[in-house]
């Protein structure tokens, strides 16, 4: 990242190659349209290129930073468009799915971790999983979710808390052994 900060385009290329799939997967999961997801990922990476100096290692991994920018861009996009219709993407979406493992040890580790995290989310009761997904991938506030689901805001917050607590307990060992999946 120091090289990216200094404006080294080759170093930026390495960062792009390392995180582009995760960035695109997140944007596509959030907005559900391939073209829009590509536009958002492009915007996000260009903003990273322009603001490389703002990356602070102490505040997390490069991947978390990249994905945070992608998510914020996507939520900004939602707000601009005020399009809050269903954006779920089924697993058989039109984008090319990543083929099975053939990569490095790090990638294999990442896939294993991702599988456990997906499992922990899937294992939540549907009502808890739903509010977490609406908030994280949909960019909705708890009050919007409460309106949508016709629930008191306290119930929505409570479900979020219960869901995250269960995932935290379920994934304790995974987090403990997780290599820097997000590097």
């Amino acid at each position: 990242m120091a090289l990216v900060r200094d404006g080294d385009a080759r170093a930026f290329e390495v960062v792009f190659d390392r995180h582009a799939d995760a960035a695109f997967s997140l944007a596509y999961r959030m907005c559900g349209r391939r073209n829009a997801a590509e536009d958002l990922v492009q915007e996000a990476f260009l903003s990273l290129w322009r603001s490389g100096a703002r990356y602070d290692r102490a505040r997390g991994s490069v991947r978390s930073w990249v994905l945070g920018v992608v998510r914020n861009r996507t939520i900004d996009h939602f707000r601009r468009e005020a399009v809050h219709t269903s954006r779920d993407v089924s697993d058989d979406g039109v984008a090319e799915r990543i083929p099975s493992p053939d990569d490095t040890v790090t990638e294999v580790q990442r896939r294993d971790d991702a599988s456990e995290i997906r499992g922990a989310l899937r294992a939540l009761p549907a009502d808890q999983r739903h509010v977490i997904e609406l908030a994280y991938f949909g960019g909705f506030s708890h009050s919007q979710i409460a309106d949508m689901l016709k629930l008191p805001t306290g119930t929505v917050k409570g479900r979020m808390r219960l869901g995250l607590t269960k995932m935290r307990m379920e994934l304790g060992d995974t987090f403990g052994s997780m290599r820097e999946v997000s590097q």
Partner: protein
């Protein structure tokens, strides 16, 4: 709990931690919660544990491969925007009048008259970004509007209510100098459901006579294969 904000009991503040970690508090609530965090170690600890979960949530998205086309677009855009130029071209700057406009009252008056003529000729000048921005209305074939905003030689094409490109195609931005053929840029785009898009035109527009947009096969073309749907004449 002794170091906790005395105005909030554990149940109240704890109830906001998960929503805050998920970015789901409304802005005022989030600001209040951040203030509360300063005084509440219990919430700080809970937030740290939730943050780890939230940071992992992107990994639950079904994995997809970013396309080579996206890679080309991003890297071409980066290549056309060296860090120094990119940063300086995009950062807000202190609002100031160019020296030639502010040095002498008589010159300033003459300059204002010139600007007025330019406005009547169909080109607007604004300073909303801190630098003078030239706004060039563009001709659109079919539905929609478009204008090209040029600040310090860098262009941004802003389109609204434009029809999406035909299936399997994408819009490509071209630049044309007075005596040349349209040259492709790395700017490929589609539009939102509302038909809008903001597209940075790569490179410097000094000496460019026309910025135009054509629908092209996905991935773009080296030469236009369709008539232009947007034409902005700079000269």
């Amino acid at each position: 709990m002794t170091d906790k904000d005395s105005t909030a009991d554990e149940r109240e503040c704890g109830a906001d931690v998960a929503a805050y970690a998920l970015g789901a508090l409304d802005p005022e609530e989030a600001a209040a919660f951040v203030r509360h965090l300063d005084a509440c170690t219990v919430c700080r600890d809970e937030l740290a544990s939730f943050q780890q979960v939230v940071n992992a949530l992107p990994m639950t998205a079904p994995p997809h491969r970013a396309s080579p086309r996206l890679r080309r677009r991003v890297l071409r855009a980066v290549a056309s925007e060296p860090r120094g130029a990119g940063a300086s071209g995009l950062s807000p700057r202190p609002r100031r009048m160019p020296g030639w406009l502010s040095s002498r009252p008589a010159v300033s008056l003459a300059a204002v008259l010139v600007l007025a003529v330019v406005v009547f000729a169909g080109v607007r000048l604004t300073s909303s970004t801190g630098d003078l921005t030239r706004v060039v209305p563009a001709q659109v074939t079919g539905r929609g509007t478009a204008e090209l905003r040029i600040t310090q030689g860098r262009g941004e094409l802003v389109v609204n209510r434009l029809s999406p490109p035909p299936p399997g195609e994408i819009y490509e931005v071209w630049i044309k100098r007075a005596h040349g053929s349209p040259a492709p840029t790395s700017a490929l785009f589609s539009v939102t459901a509302g038909g809008s898009a903001n597209i940075g035109v790569p490179g410097n527009l000094n000496g460019v006579a026309v910025v135009m947009v054509t629908p092209e096969p996905a991935g773009g073309s080296r030469a236009p294969t369709h008539p232009a749907v947007i034409v902005a004449r700079l000269a």
